[in-house]
Assembly symmetry: C2
Homo-oligomer: 401 residues x 2
């Protein structure tokens, strides 16, 4: 595999990955991202009420969701969820050990863990892994870092965007994991984004919330919201731009770049959804409001009957109408129209004649586009999902505790 | 197959079924239930905003959900949904033709259709079917009637309960269909219940709403709410009991019998869920309220990760905790306890040691019981679902429009 730089491409960051032995497969399972200096940091975590111990730790470190940190330590193969006080102490111990190597304190390091729920972390292995990783922090291991955070994922996911802020080139880069238990609600599984832009923590948090709302929050694999969803963005300021504030036009430029990185990672999560063979884009237009458009789009994206029909290449638009109708968004059959690809299949309360062969060809492609015009207002939202296949069942019936 | 009486067991009813040719398989696909005299009738229909034309017709006939009718005509193989004004006229024509044979009017007959969405009914076939069925109405075809309303169901579903009301023996009997697109919200796919009890229409409606809330509304196969859900109860009064009113103790007796019939039919729907190999009972206790208990129980029942784990025989209680935590019910990890069968696997924020072999044996049985004690109040609810198997995908990826 060609070595690509992404997570350390923005100035001010180093990273490393190791195989410390949590995964029985012997694949890499521990990664560290470090700032050479303190980093403006914003983080969002799961809305599930049962949260992992690392999420609890992050909320202790950054109670408002933003501040300054020196980086993050992440392990895969064990999510350290529902492990009680001992588990929370383990999360803190991971931060403490990482911090020591960086000349920092536990409160300067974020922690994320992903994998099976309900088992204590093998701390001896993790301690050796942290020591090994911290000794080799550099800018050559980005791909290994992206792989070290994976669980049932088949592909590593990264994204890079460059933009201009006040005459300076600014880079935003990110990695993500996630392919099952994906229905993030304001955050996703684990995504780490780095940038060399100068942005104050509070502004960074505002941008993250706005970007996550239309990217990570717009994807669903199986409607199940993880206990460990964490997305963190770190800004080193090395690009030398005048610090971005929320009231400047530069904020929109930065936000646009951040949305692009988050969107690319979110779509990569769906494309690598457990058992997925196709990506499905659901565009809802003219809902009563953006939030109603979101409810409608996500109801279609979460419907197992819509997802199995797409898997079967069947232009069964009745299931799309059903999923819109069961949502909490206002839907009026007589106003609704539905397109599969470019063809209108339903309008004003009844199905329309359409070219079934062309529709089947569209469903057989890599990206399926479903457009639902509610004709009730101006709200829009785009959600992303994947099809539902036998492989999803195989992965999740056999995945063991 | 032994001929059993159920739907015509209460006095005052006849029924018949025919194969009119809607189903390509040549299986029976049209059924009629008729009252010898006007019947007290209560009906509930889907909460989906996109509703089938037969549901629209029912709402025209019984705008308050109760009144007096002479019976019901039901076809399977085509749901007459999203077929516009022409489809609504077809539904009315079914009622008119049936009514004519019974010496009644269109407004005296309920109509239900189930099957694929978006296609016009083959009305010539249906007209012949209605004529043939009406000519052979009797009390010998109950099993054929129960089969004629099926689609992807593997088994016909019926239930009979007898009880005493004011010194008279009263019979309640029901049939139902449904195995996919099952997440009824205050009503289910199609269920028809007959009784010889004397109950006024309004009282019958009150009893039906109460019974459906803890039976049909408590089951889910795939979280998708149909556009055609319809449950109707017809009371002939032939038992000769003093008419039941809502304020009498007799109402509780009647309600208890109705709950029993509805519960048996609802559990039969789940047991025959598409691809199901096991029935799963989810008991939530000590929620803040009954409605929160319901939200929590249904979140577990709808979780594909819980359902695939059960299919795989894996005591992965972390997924149960996840599903409780993502629900809109209040859940506090430190107060929560979870049992699989009789074993506590999680309590007060952390997993407990348990006999994994015994848990696997419980998951391998026909009925899996998950008990979640939220320890926050006195609310309780019991939901029912099935496991999620490759067969569900096969059925729904290949089911054609």
């Amino acid at each position: 595999m060609a070595r690509e730089r992404h997570i350390t491409l923005p100035g001010g960051f180093t990273a490393a990955a190791t195989c410390c032995g949590i995964k029985p497969s012997g694949k890499s399972d521990l990664a560290i991202l470090a700032g050479e200096k303190p980093l403006a940091t914003a983080v969002m975590t799961t809305t599930n009420q049962i949260v992992g111990e690392p999420v609890k730790f992050i909320r202790q470190v950054l109670p408002k969701g933003f501040g300054r940190t020196r980086g993050m330590v992440i392990n895969s193969g064990n999510s350290n969820v529902c492990t009680g006080r001992a588990g929370l102490a383990d999360a803190k111990a991971m931060a403490t050990r990482t911090a020591k190597h960086l000349g920092a304190e536990a409160g300067d390091i974020l922690v994320a863990s992903t994998g099976v729920i309900g088992h204590r972390l093998p701390m001896a292995k993790i301690r050796s892994g942290i020591d090994a990783a911290c000794e080799q922090l550099d800018r050559t291991q980005d791909d290994a870092v992206a792989r070290a955070i994976l669980t049932t994922d088949l592909r590593a996911k990264s994204a890079v965007v460059q933009t201009r802020l006040g005459g300076k080139t600014v880079t935003l880069s990110g990695i993500a994991k996630g392919s099952g238990m994906i229905a993030p609600s304001l955050a996703t599984m684990i995504a780490v984004i780095t940038t060399d832009a100068a942005v104050a923590p509070r502004t960074l948090h505002k941008a993250l919330r706005e970007a996550a709302g239309v990217t990570f929050d717009a994807v669903t694999v199986d409607s199940d919201t993880s206990t460990s969803d964490t997305v963190a963005v770190f800004a080193s300021g090395e690009a030398g731009n005048k610090p971005v504030t929320a009231s400047q036009p530069a904020f929109r430029t930065f936000l646009s770049g951040l949305k692009e990185v988050c969107g690319e990672l979110a779509r990569a999560i769906v494309a690598d959804g457990e058992g997925a063979t196709r990506v499905v884009k659901i565009v809802v237009t003219n809902a009563r409001s953006d939030s109603e458009a979101k409810l409608a789009a996500k109801s279609v994206a979460d419907s197992p009957l819509v997802k199995t029909a797409i898997h079967g290449g069947d232009p069964n638009w009745g299931r799309i109408a059903m999923a819109l109708g069961k949502s909490r968004a206002t839907v009026v059959a007589e106003k609704l129209s539905i397109k599969l690809g470019r063809q209108t299949v339903f309008s004003r309360g009844a199905g329309r004649r359409f070219d079934v062969k062309a529709a089947e060809a569209h469903l057989g492609g890599e990206e399926v586009v479903i457009t639902c015009n509610l004709n009730l207002g101006k709200g829009t939202y785009t959600a992303w999902t994947c099809d539902l296949s036998r492989e999803y069942i195989a992965i999740n019936a056999d995945y063991t505790t």
